[in-house]
Subunit: 333 residues, 2 copies
């Protein structure tokens, strides 16, 4: 009977979880942003190619490294000529899930495609003065012409910044990392350890899931960071970032950030928009205090960590294995 | 009979080639530098980990990218804080073959192990002030302790710069890229196209193979760059590098460089110690003039390119697929 009870409890938890979360799709293509194998393959090469940047050292993979689960391990990213970025690099894995709300910590990008286009002229990112510079650099690598033609067959001159964005976006829309939690949501309750299930229960009952929900376990809304206490008092952040306020100039957006997706969060320290917190248990405690006015017990933290671990999936093969880039000089006849 | 003659010619060429070159071994371990799976796996993680460098952006893979065949596509490498390196990044693929002579363009490293140790404190490379800084950074990543212990089981405190070098060296000693030319040397004459075989013939008869020989098709000796003409007049190099002279202060070493290995050379532009030449056919023409006092015909150049293409192997799987690094914060319990 004890086992029977536990099973009933397990089923109730699964039912509750299914109302809040969804398993990952096979890819993140949408009607508006469909993908094709040729675009994905081109986008994958572009993602890993540093030669398009102003100093030849910056590719998307410079800040979104596969070996660090699509992040760079830094508090704040560093781009061309060693330039400091204002915020922490989020992972590109599953990032395209956040279609409903804009990308970046402050929601100042429309889509992964828009993000990729703007990165070209981002001063601390690729650092190019204008899009034409990117096009010229792409054209100087003969191997890209057939790839752009195959990806955009109806386009008479396919070297454009929009096609750059479309191709990289198509690639990013394949970067899903199905995890034990997805198997659980699909009905295999044993995919989560008892501790992870206890953590899931806490994650819901404490209130985390009121913000971190949906397929990404986050990425569905904006929220003020520090609803109960100024966040910088808990994180030790030196110069508080005003968040979405700087984008919208709307007083209600002061200290508002996107609720980040928590998939693979165990693998992507340091935490928060400024990378101010190194250890995940600390980040969880800060969340409870800042966002919910609660103090968690050690057991609760341990259980929530176990749940968050169940969000770690295997790296996509087309991300962990890097593509061979077309050489910029002589092409094999 | 014509076919018979051709075959005889083919066999004579193969015989000649076997006197000058050798197929790649399975790995490049030596008695002095043996390898073990635990060391290779640790070395592979260290090779791809940027968190040990002074600004957290520089790993070996920063300048030796798998997507660019172990090079960076730059004329001269760029390290921490955007600092310029004085020379072009050679590929790490098959680099450990050059045991007999020291590594680097000017021969100022004893082995791949020594190279990896010194990179830690190289000002434009990892940029650390002292080895202790590297050790401290390694210790701060809990996941490395079990890996160092497994790799150096008899070492009570395995975090040392020598073990760093030994592990990375062990990994590098696995990075071989068997190519069509190896199949040819093993007796499969059809592994090389007729044009490539003609190129091999030219490569030998013109005199290239007098310097570029052995398993690496290079990497066996030092030679003056510019025996018949000042090299900078042909390459357009701005400030001529004095080469090995700056290392030995011996007048005979003025403008002397290591004869580089030519394996995968088609994939590793730009060329020469300063990356001054972009196109391989130009590099070949310059070599003939500067080193042999000869002017090659277009056909000769085309054939030699075809031969050099037969030196391109598949990327090693443990290089093209990057390792997942231990996270620096909380470790899964
Ligand atoms: C110099 C470092 C750097 C480079 C280069 C870089 N990124 Fe980023 N990326 C970041 C940082 C930092 C952010 C967060 C920016 C912010 O919120 O202000 C980010 C955000 C993103 C996001 C949004 C993620 C989310 O969950 O909101 C995506 C997607 C992304 N980058 C993909 C790319 C692609 C594709 C490229 C190449 C075209 C690229 N990045 C180049 C550092 C970089
Ligand atoms: C009211 C909304 C809200 C609630 C409730 C909430 N969060 Fe958050 N969470 C956020 C926002 C917004 C951020 C981004 C903060 C920043 O970095 O600016 C965030 C960030 C995080 C991060 C860091 C992610 C990263 O990659 O840097 C973790 C981990 C996290 N939350 C876990 C939790 C947990 C666990 C709970 C419950 C104890 C919780 N959150 C409750 C809104 C919320
Ligand atoms: C900042 C760029 C940069 C970094 C970081 C870097 N290298 Fe290099 N590497 C170079 C350059 C440039 C050379 C040639 C130096 C010279 O000859 O003066 C080189 C030479 C080498 C060589 C000799 C190759 C040959 O054929 O002579 C090996 C092996 C090597 N590097 C491996 C590594 C390893 C292992 C690491 C990490 C521990 C590393 N490199 C870090 C740029 C870099
Ligand atoms: C007398 C010795 C010698 C001869 C003969 C010689 N080379 Fe070289 N080769 C060198 C040296 C030394 C370098 C390195 C020059 C530098 O960059 O400082 C080199 C560099 C090269 C490079 C550039 C490799 C790279 O990765 O940057 C190529 C390609 C090359 N040689 C091909 C040839 C060909 C083809 C021939 C015959 C036509 C030839 N060499 C004849 C000594 C020689
Ligand atoms: Ca992070
Ligand atoms: Ca080169």
């Amino acid at each position: 009977p004890a086992a029977g009870l536990a099973e009933t409890g397990d089923q109730a938890l699964l039912k509750q979880a299914r109302q809040l979360f969804k398993p990952l799709p096979d890819n993140m293509a949408t009607q508006e942003n469909p993908i094709s194998p040729a675009r994905v393959e081109l986008g994958r090469k572009l993602f890993f190619d540093p030669r398009i940047s102003v100093d030849g050292t910056v590719s998307c993979a410079r800040c979104h490294l596969p070996q660090l689960y699509g992040t760079d391990g830094l508090r704040k990213a560093i781009g061309n000529h060693g330039k400091a970025n204002p915020r922490n690099s989020p992972t590109v894995l599953n990032a395209a899930l956040q279609g409903a709300i804009a990308a970046h910590w402050r929601g100042d990008r429309k889509s992964v495609e828009d993000q990729a286009v703007q990165a070209l002229v981002g001063p601390p990112s690729f650092g190019l003065a204008k899009y034409e510079d990117a096009i010229a650099k792409l054209k100087a690598i003969p191997g890209y012409l057939p790839l752009f033609k195959a990806a955009f067959p109806r386009d008479p001159s396919p070297f454009t910044q929009d096609n750059w964005g479309t191709a990289i976006g198509a690639y990013e829309r394949t970067l899903v990392t199905p995890a034990p939690f997805d198997a659980y949501l699909k009905g295999n309750t044993r995919a989560l350890s008892p501790t992870a299930q206890a953590g899931l229960r806490e994650f819901i009952s404490v209130g985390c899931a009121s913000c971190h929900n949906g397929t990404g376990v986050g990425g569905t809304m904006y929220q003020k960071f520090g609803r109960f206490e100024d966040y910088w008092k808990l994180t030790g952040s030196k110069e508080p970032d005003k968040g979405r306020f700087d984008v919208t100039k709307n007083a209600a957006d002061l200290y508002v950030f996107k609720v980040p997706i928590l998939r693979n969060v165990v693998m992507t320290p340091p935490y928060f928009h400024d990378g101010s917190v190194t250890e995940l248990p600390d980040a969880i405690r800060i969340m409870a205090r800042a966002q919910l006015g609660k103090t968690l017990s050690d057991t609760q933290v341990k259980q929530i960590v176990a749940f968050l671990e169940s969000l770690t999936g295997k790296l996509p093969e087309n991300f962990q294995t890097v593509p061979v880039l077309p050489t910029s000089a002589f092409q094999a006849p």
